[in-house]
């Protein structure tokens, strides 16, 4: 199975995921990112932290960008 890395961009800063996780497909990676974004978004809101520019960047083993998910996008439960 391919390995996907979930880096978290906070404005100019980026929290690197050095380990990644094995998932079946890019769709699976997207689903995983949605669940992660909900959790991160909820924590940011509770802590009163800004969320505007924050995104999850999904990269593959070649460090190619597979998907970008703004945290705010998961405010819509159908996202």
């Amino acid at each position: 199975m391919p390995r996907y890395y979930f880096h978290i961009r906070r404005g100019e800063e980026i929290a690197m995921d050095p380990e990644g996780v094995e998932l079946a497909s890019p769709e699976q990676a997207h689903k995983e990112a949605v669940l992660a974004a909900r959790e991160l978004l909820a924590a940011r809101l509770l802590n009163g932290e800004p969320i505007d520019g924050d995104t999850i960047e999904i990269k593959d083993e070649q460090a190619t960008l597979v998907d970008t998910l703004p945290l705010k996008s998961v405010l819509d439960p159908k996202a």
Binding site: F6, R10, A15, M16, E19, V21, A36, E39, N47, I56
Partner: protein, 238 residues
């Protein structure tokens, strides 16, 4: 000749008490992932850890969550010391180490025969209950950063400054998704409390970690010092 050990509970025993026990103690190397006891199965041995770190795990909706951790300050298998045959929890090693293990029935017999051993182990179980309560409090009342800081402090207490732990493991420990761990480690690293590398967290500034953890850390630790180490009166942390 009395067996030497770096387990702090066994160190509290008098030489003759340790001698009675040592006939049944066996030193064993433990690797990450080694199971110490399993959910709802008889607990064959109690492990007095001398190095490394183990986790006691509860399972909810098929997900595993750490409720407590044990290193050389304690022993794994509190239920045995309470006379219970099986427990819903499980335990396994997080960081390689070693232990003196004793068959559960031998430990129960020794506790019946030796009051100081019994008292020391029951004091420790009281502290372990406080640790589990502190985990519940942290999960309910503290942010992921605070919980991560608490957990790193507890791991440092037991295993030193270099903690070979993956984001995946932290995710299990804290009951959050892996990206929340990535995010929180980044925050702590930005504050120069830790250095996070692939599968390795290095503690750089314990005082700052204490500050971030706040009262999420320290209550069981203070009770341990009071009851086990005989260090001072009842007090809050520090």
């Amino acid at each position: 000749m009395t067996m030497k050990t770096s387990n702090v509970l066994l160190q509290r025993l008098a030489a003759e008490e340790m001698e009675t026990l040592s006939a049944h103690l066996e030193r064993i190397e433990l690797k990450r992932g080694d199971v110490l006891f399993e959910s709802y199965l008889p607990v064959p041995y109690v492990y007095f850890l001398e190095a490394g770190l183990s986790s006691e795990i509860a399972t909810t909706s098929g997900k595993r969550l750490e409720v407590g951790c044990v290193g050389r300050e304690g022993f794994s298998g509190a239920s045995v010391a309470l006379g219970v045959d099986v427990t819903p929890h499980g335990a396994f090693m997080q960081i390689d180490g070693q232990a003196l293990r004793i068959p559960s029935s031998e430990l129960q017999a020794a506790m019946d025969a030796c009051f100081p051993l019994r008292r020391t182990l029951l004091f420790y179980i009281h502290v372990f209950m406080l640790q589990i309560a502190a985990t519940a409090i942290a999960d309910a009342k503290h942010t992921v950063e605070q919980r991560l800081a608490r957990w790193i402090l507890m791991a440092q207490d037991r295993a030193g400054d270099e903690l070979p732990l993956t984001h995946e493991f932290f995710s299990l420990m804290l009951g959050v998704r892996r990206p929340s761990v990535t995010d929180a480690l980044h925050v702590l690293e930005g504050m120069h409390c830790i250095k996070a590398e692939r599968s390795l967290v290095i503690v750089r500034d314990r005082a700052s970690l204490r500050q971030i953890a706040g009262d999420a850390y320290g209550v069981p630790e203070a009770e341990y010092r009071r009851l086990i180490l005989g260090d001072g009166a009842p007090s809050s942390a520090d």
